[in-house]
């Protein structure tokens, strides 16, 4: 029990800090709405089989009698060329997009953050090597490296995700490194060094926990960015493959029919737009709340 209460005590300031940030974030109307929408999206993704009116239409079932029907009370978002309910497919698409985006951003963080901390915390040759490698990765225009990688690894959703992870981690390395460099010479780190704390312990226990704020902001915006990228790769034929109801792929297949079936491309696009928008808005809000310069009580 002793250990637990100690743990609790050390955590308390950060819990208080978190609640304060949450309060500030929640105070802004636009950000409150965004938070609510994100919660709703997560619920839709988790409970997709129960919400979708025709869960079978999400993957395998076809319904040739009702193909390319405009929106109606029966099919709110209309149907596609195989008569599948677009609403059900868009709902299942939420699942795919959120899941892949979370995994991709999570993995990129897992690679990028420790590397950035090591580069910034150690300095010297190691710093130079790691940062020049990130320079090379960041010198590809956004999306381009992901296109090349997924083209060469073979087009499927898993490879698209890998491609995004490979092209995304350097951003986090760069941000964390910048933070770590500025913290490296602070008093508490010097104190730790003076009493002989091992280098890696200093980096991961003393420096790293203090570098998180800007990365959290970046990561939340990147969820939107990754969703856009996955959709773009699928649109080009390099991501999800039919019959997966991935949003970008839905728009891509709609191209053959959309001039006479406006609903086919419209709804998946709106789904992408709203999802990316709310993550961007939350990211913006977090930046204002977490940055001491713009933080207002």
């Amino acid at each position: 029990m002793q250990g637990f209460s100690d743990f609790n005590k050390t955590l308390q300031p950060s819990i208080r800090e978190f609640r304060m940030s949450f309060y500030l974030l929640n105070r802004n109307r636009l950000q409150r709405i965004s938070l609510i929408v994100i919660v709703l999206l997560v619920l839709v993704a988790v409970f997709a089989p129960f919400i979708a009116p025709y869960p079978g239409h999400a993957i395998s079932d076809t319904n040739p009698d009702d193909k390319l029907q405009p929106p109606s009370t029966r099919y709110w978002f209309g149907t596609d060329e195989l008569g599948r309910d677009m609403l059900s497919r868009v709902i299942y698409g939420t699942r795919i997009s959120l899941q892949t985006a979370l995994i991709a951003v999570g993995m990129a963080l897992l690679i990028g953050v420790p590397l950035g901390a090591i580069a910034g915390g150690l300095g010297g040759v190691m710093d130079e090597i790691i940062m020049r490698i990130t320079d090379v990765f960041l010198s590809f225009p956004p999306l381009l490296l992901a296109i090349a990688i997924s083209a060469f690894m073979g087009p499927n959703l898993r490879n698209a995700m890998l491609a995004i992870i490979i092209s995304w981690w350097p951003w986090y390395t760069r941000i964390i490194r910048g933070q770590a460099v500025s913290i490296r010479e602070r008093q508490f780190v010097r104190a730790a060094r003076a009493i002989g704390t091992p280098k890696m312990t200093i980096i991961f226990k003393h420096i790293l926990p203090n570098t998180f704020a800007p990365v959290i902001v970046q990561a939340s915006m990147d969820i939107g960015g990754v969703i856009l990228t996955i959709a773009a790769l699928s649109f080009l034929g390099l991501g999800a493959q039919p019959p997966t109801p991935e949003w970008g792929l839905l728009i891509s297949t709609s191209r053959t029919y959309f001039l006479n079936a406006w609903w086919y491309s419209t709804f998946p696009g709106i789904a992408i737009f709203i999802t990316v928008l709310v993550f961007n808005l939350i990211g913006d809000g977090m930046r204002e709340v977490l940055d001491p310069k713009t933080r207002k009580f």
Partner: protein, 336 residues
């Protein structure tokens, strides 16, 4: 100044070497049989064997890499699998149409995005600021390819104002001689005084131009606003105001000048985004540029062509960033 540029150039070369290394790794090391991948799924056994020798795959990796670099330096990107023609040649033919689009969107980013950001920063918290922020965060959240389709639905299918795609009307293509001097359609028709072609070309550029331009306008507006907001609280701005300078001079000349660093970086970044967005939109508008080229290469599994576009775009992006950094170096504070 000279030393800074020299150092930056050296760094640029190192980065380009790195880019070449990554593309080498991607094409020659990752695939289980690079030769088979390089000649495509329909190749015969003899073709694969020949490719193995052409690519130097029978030699050690470091020899392969030197050969690869040698080819790159000579501008040899291999032949397209579909047309059997040199990729460099095909890139050259497709480049002007893409550059036209990229230029239009960059001009929009600079002449709409920057003023929008300045006004927004100046009127922070007022309705015009809210509106412009909502606009800029909105357009960077839009999937570009979807915007293209929606514009086609609206302005072609429903309102019949703009054409569906292409660079020129079929009627003009059939009845008139299209001038070919530089390959830039608008420039060529302007120089030769073919105003009908010019107007037609402009008309065809509107929808793809808007589709491609929205993102950079939003991005630049957003960045300009946040860069200016930091500057507007600085003492020298207060000083300038207290001298009685008009707000217009304070804003557009004193404050904006100091944000040139972050603005030019973001313009370079937005050109990178635009280039990649052409990959997603050109095929929608049957625009005969690099974007359509890579989109059809992806569908046709034309790996040399995909790699050619990748290398070309990455190198131009590196050079672009180099230029942006040198512009930033005009700011004496950075040089120190």
């Amino acid at each position: 100044m000279k030393r800074f540029i020299l150092r930056r150039l050296l760094l640029g070369i190192i980065v380009m070497l790195g880019v070449a290394f990554i593309t080498f790794f991607l094409t020659r090391v990752i695939p289980s049989d690079p030769a088979a991948k390089w000649v495509g799924p329909r190749a015969t056994v003899e073709q694969i064997a020949k490719a193995r020798i052409d690519l130097g795959l029978d030699q050690p990796l470091h020899v392969q890499f030197f050969k690869y670099m040698g080819d790159l330096l000579q501008g040899n990107l291999g032949n397209s699998l579909r047309s059997r023609r040199p990729i460099v040649l095909e890139l050259k033919e497709n480049l002007p149409a893409t550059i036209e689009l990229v230029l239009i969107s960059t001009i929009a980013a600079v002449f709409i995005g920057i003023p929008l950001g300045v006004i927004s920063a100046n009127r922070k918290g007022q309705w015009i600021d809210h509106l412009s922020r909502l606009f800029s965060v909105g357009v960077v959240s839009l999937p570009t390819f979807w915007v293209g389709l929606i514009l086609q639905l609206l302005f072609f299918r429903t309102l019949h104002i703009f054409p569906l795609g292409g660079q020129l009307s079929t009627e003009i293509k059939l009845t008139m001689e299209i001038p070919k001097i530089t390959g830039f359609l608008m420039f060529d028709s302007l120089v030769t005084g073919n105003f009908r072609i010019l107007m037609d070309a402009l008309w065809h550029t509107v929808l793809p131009g808007i589709t491609i331009g929205l993102y950079p306008v939003g991005l630049v507006a957003r960045m300009t606003r946040s860069a200016l907001l930091e500057i507007l609280y600085e003492d020298y701005i207060t000083a300038a105001r207290s001298y009685g300078l008009t707000e217009r001079i304070v804003l557009w000349s004193y404050a904006l000048k100091n944000s040139i660093g972050s603005t030019s970086t973001v313009v370079a970044l937005s050109i990178g985004y635009t280039l990649v967005n052409t990959f997603l939109t050109e095929s929608i508008f049957s625009w005969p540029g690099i974007g359509s080229y890579i989109a059809s290469a992806v569908i046709g599994l034309d790996y040399p062509a995909i790699m050619g576009v990748t290398i070309f775009s990455a190198f131009s992006y590196v050079i672009l960033n180099l230029v942006a950094d040198i512009i930033i170096a005009l700011d004496p504070r950075v040089r120190a």
